[in-house]
Each structure stands twice: as structure tokens, then as C-alpha cells.
């Protein structure tokens, strides 16, 4: 028998054996597999760990991209939130003012410029005639009076604040304390008011607007008495220094009220 024929017979025999085995569905006992199970397990564990490592690296890369995307989205949302917060604060301010100072508010304006002079205190607002703003309209914030409009263009308005030397506002003691005085601005940050000698005014008293002058609504807080100046022998009025209720240096949004 030649080598090639023997070779072919061996293959034919093996193929025949497989045909028989597969035809009769001979399945090996499971117990035999238990011998190699620990070795197979090693391979599976290695493969699983390797796959997890690759997945971890991929996940980390993906998470970094997602994180960058979320960071950008977060920045946009934060910015939007800031805008909405400001808008909400303005509306809240308007609500407070219409409820406590005057119901006829024109609207809210932003301070877009301030007078750089140390001798003046004037603000420029981003509302003008096309928004219904007119001269002599009072300007307030929830904390108190800011001043009044003295100049207006189509899109801006100029406010003379309480501490400007050209500002004059009628004041009276809060809670019906009586007295009627006129307060003038004293740059850079105070007012000087004069009351008749009979008014029992003292340091710490709160002053609000009075009907004197017919410009401001009555009862809007102006400031607190910081100092009562001593009376001279010939003085007919008592002078006091008033600290404004509103810190004009940090005001951003103000409310414009309808004039009386």
C-alpha cells in the first residue's frame, strides 16, 4: 500500500467516524469538560479584564468629550440664568415699588453711565421718550428715592440724584413725625436739609419725601439723619445732614415713576 493511499484511507476513515458520531449526535460527558474548566476560566477572566480595560479607556475618552460638551452647555445655561435672574430681580423690584411707593411705574431702566465729576451726581438711563419717559419723573429703587429725570432724549434719560447740588426734595419725618423741610444735595454722598426750629428732629430719624414741590410721591424713603448741626444765634432753621437711603454708587436698575 502506497503512502498516498494509506493517507487517503486514514482521512476517509476519520471522516467516516465523524459522520457516524455526528449522525448519532454523540455528546461528550460534561464531567470531561470540568477538567479543562479552570483553564478556560483563566482565558475568560483575562479576556473580560482586557475588554473592560479597553471599554474603560473608551468610556473615559467619551466621558471627557461629554464632559466638555456639558461644560459648554452649562456655561450657556449659567449665562442665561444670570440674565433671567436679573430680569426676575427687576420685576420683583417693580412689584415692590408699585406696591409700596407708587402704583404708576413707567418701567425699569438700567444705569448705563454716571457723571464722572466729583461735584455732580448724575446718572444716565437706557430709557427715553420712546419709552414714555418725561422730564421730572421720579426715579426710585425699593430702598428709596434716587432722584428725578432732568433731561431726556429718544433713548436715554438723565437723572439728577439726591446728592447732586442741583437736587432739591421736600422731606418729612417718617411715620407722621411732622415737620417739613427741603433737602439739597451735598456732593459726594449726602444731603443737607433745613427744618424749622420747632421740629423735634434728631440723629437716626428717617426722612421720607413730602408733598412739597409736587414732584415726588409722598412717603418714599430719602435717608436717615446722620448729624444735627448746632443752631447759631441767628439761625431760624435747624440744619441736618442726611445720609441717603440708597447707595447711588452701586445702583444698577431703577424704576421710573409717573410724575405727579
Amino acid at each position: 500500500m502506497t503512502g498516498g493511499r494509506q493517507f487517503g484511507l486514514v482521512f476517509a476513515g476519520l471522516l467516516l467516524l465523524s459522520m457516524v458520531l455526528t449522525r448519532f449526535q454523540v455528546v461528550p460527558p460534561t464531567a470531561l469538560r470540568s477538567v479543562t474548566a479552570p483553564i478556560s476560566l483563566v482565558g475568560l477572566v483575562v479576556a473580560d479584564n482586557l475588554r473592560r480595560a479597553v471599554l474603560s479607556v473608551n468610556d473615559r475618552r467619551d466621558l471627557r468629550a461629554v464632559n466638555a460638551s456639558l461644560q459648554a452647555e452649562n456655561d450657556v445655561l449659567r449665562q442665561r440664568n444670570e440674565v433671567l435672574n436679573r430680569e426676575a430681580a427687576r420685576l420683583k423690584q417693580l412689584e415692590i415699588i408699585t406696591g409700596t411707593q407708587a402704583p404708576n411705574a413707567v418701567g425699569i431702566a438700567q444705569v448705563i453711565a454716571v457723571d464722572p465729576s466729583p461735584l455732580l451726581s448724575r446718572l444716565t438711563l437706557n430709557r427715553g421718550t420712546r419709552d414714555g419717559v418725561r422730564i421730572r419723573m421720579p426715579v426710585t429703587v425699593p430702598g428709596g428715592l434716587v432722584g428725578q429725570i432732568t433731561g431726556v432724549s429718544a433713548s436715554t434719560a438723565t437723572v439728577v440724584s439726591l446728592v447732586d447740588p442741583e437736587s432739591t426734595v421736600g422731606v418729612t419725618l417718617q411715620n407722621g413725625g411732622g415737620g417739613r423741610g427741603l433737602a439739597h444735595g451735598v456732593p459726594p454722598d449726602s444731603l443737607r436739609a433745613e427744618f424749622s426750629r420747632g421740629v423735634p428732629i434728631k440723629e437716626g430719624d428717617v426722612l421720607v419725601t413730602s408733598s412739597l414741590g409736587g414732584v415726588f410721591p409722598v412717603g418714599v424713603r430719602v435717608g436717615k439723619v446722620q448729624q444735627v448741626l448746632p443752631l447759631g444765634p441767628n439761625d431760624v432753621n435747624r440744619s441736618v445732614i442726611i445720609k441717603p437711603a440708597v447707595d447711588l454708587g452701586v445702583v444698577e436698575d431703577v424704576t421710573i415713576l409717573e410724575g405727579l
Binding site: V10, L15, M19, T22, Q25, V26, P28, R33, I39, G43
Partner: protein
């Protein structure tokens, strides 16, 4: 270039004749396996363990990625076909296939016949190609895959089974072949350690 292919070449023109390749021990059925002894058994056992573990790991990874795993059992059958006389190579490959059937828990004889078919083709190719080189390796592994799947086809026809489909052949076999080809140089290190170096093409053919 070491990767020469001599399809249809004359056996006398190839290495082995007159060069000591077909010496008396080879003609008497000797093999290129390491010398008999505990070391040979130890290496064979370690190789078998490595084969099982590596094939398990590759199958797991391939399943996760949805592709066919490289067939290390096939590479083992190819290695045996290179190292043993033809009839012994068929028997050895069949034994390896039975081990694969055993590990898989399927029907005995399916992979056994497939690997025997692979070994058959490698032995046939072996008469015509040189003993080393990447191209030779590609031809041997490709031939083995073809032989294996032809045998699967014969069995499927015998069983009247739809085990082998065109979709399977088009989707699985190319990926399996590519993966096996890519892995074969690496796995060859393990084969050389466990089964010994590959002999010349004409050695053990008689």
C-alpha cells in the same frame, strides 16, 4: 527571500534532499518534536493549557466585538501537519479536533473532521511549498481553512443540515481567516516552544 513558494516544484530541487533533511531517522518516521521525556510531556501539557486559555480568551473578546475568533486549534493542526508524517498528522489533528469538540460541548466529530481536513490540505500543500516565510504561512493557513470548511460542508451535506450557509461563509470565514492569519506568526512562537521547530518541507512526508 525566505518566503518562496514553489507550487508544482520538483521535490529534488528543494531543501531536504541531499542536505540532511531526509536522513534515516526521518525516513523511519521520526518527527521534529523535542526528544522524548518529561520535558516533552511538560511542554505539550503547557501548550495544551495555553491553547485552551488563549482560545477561550480570543473567543470571549471576539464575541464581545461580534466577529469570529481566530482559530488556534486550526493553527495547532497546521503545526502538527508540518511536523508529523501525513497519516500521523491526520490522526493528531483529528485528536485536537476532538478536544475542541469536547471543550465546546457540542457533537463529537464535527471539529475533529474539520481539523483533519485542514491537516489534509496542509500536507498536500506541504509537498509543493518551501519551509518558511510569511507567504508560505499564508498559503498553509488559507489552505487549512479551506480544507476545514470543505469538510464541514461535507458533514453538513451528510447530516442534511443547514449548518453551512452562504451568509455564514461570506460573513464568518473571511474574518476567521484574516484573524487566524494575523495571529499565526505570534502563535508560532508558542508552537515552536511546545511542539518544536518546523522541519523542512520534505521531511516526514514518507
Amino acid at each position: 527571500m525566505s518566503g518562496r513558494v514553489r507550487l508544482g516544484g520538483d521535490g529534488r530541487s528543494q531543501r531536504g534532499l541531499g542536505g540532511g533533511g531526509l536522513d534515516r531517522t526521518r525516513l523511519n518516521g521520526g518527527s521534529s518534536f523535542p526528544p522524548r521525556g518529561p520535558a516533552r510531556v511538560f511542554r505539550a501539557v503547557v501548550y495544551a493549557a495555553l491553547l485552551i486559555a488563549a482560545q477561550g480568551a480570543l473567543s470571549r473578546l471576539a464575541d464581545a466585538w461580534g466577529v469570529a475568533a481566530p482559530d488556534l486549534f486550526l493553527l495547532t493542526a497546521v503545526a502538527l501537519a508540518w511536523r508529523l508524517p501525513p497519516a500521523q498528522a491526520l490522526l493528531a489533528a483529528y485528536g485536537v479536533g476532538l478536544g475542541q469538540d469536547l471543550l465546546g460541548g457540542g457533537v463529537l466529530g464535527l471539529h475533529a473532521a474539520g481539523l483533519a481536513g485542514a491537516a489534509l490540505w496542509v500536507v498536500i500543500f506541504r509537498r509543493s511549498i518551501s519551509d518558511s516565510g510569511p507567504l508560505q504561512n499564508v498559503v498553509a493557513v488559507t489552505g487549512a481553512v479551506i480544507g476545514q470548511w470543505l469538510t464541514f460542508g461535507v458533514l453538513a451535506y451528510w447530516l442534511k443540515s443547514d449548518l453551512i450557509s452562504v451568509r455564514l461563509l461570506a460573513g464568518t470565514v473571511p474574518v476567521l481567516l484574516l484573524g487566524t492569519l494575523l495571529l499565526s506568526p505570534l502563535w508560532d512562537w508558542a508552537v515552536r516552544w511546545g511542539l518544536g521547530p518546523r522541519p523542512g518541507p520534505q521531511e516526514n512526508l514518507v
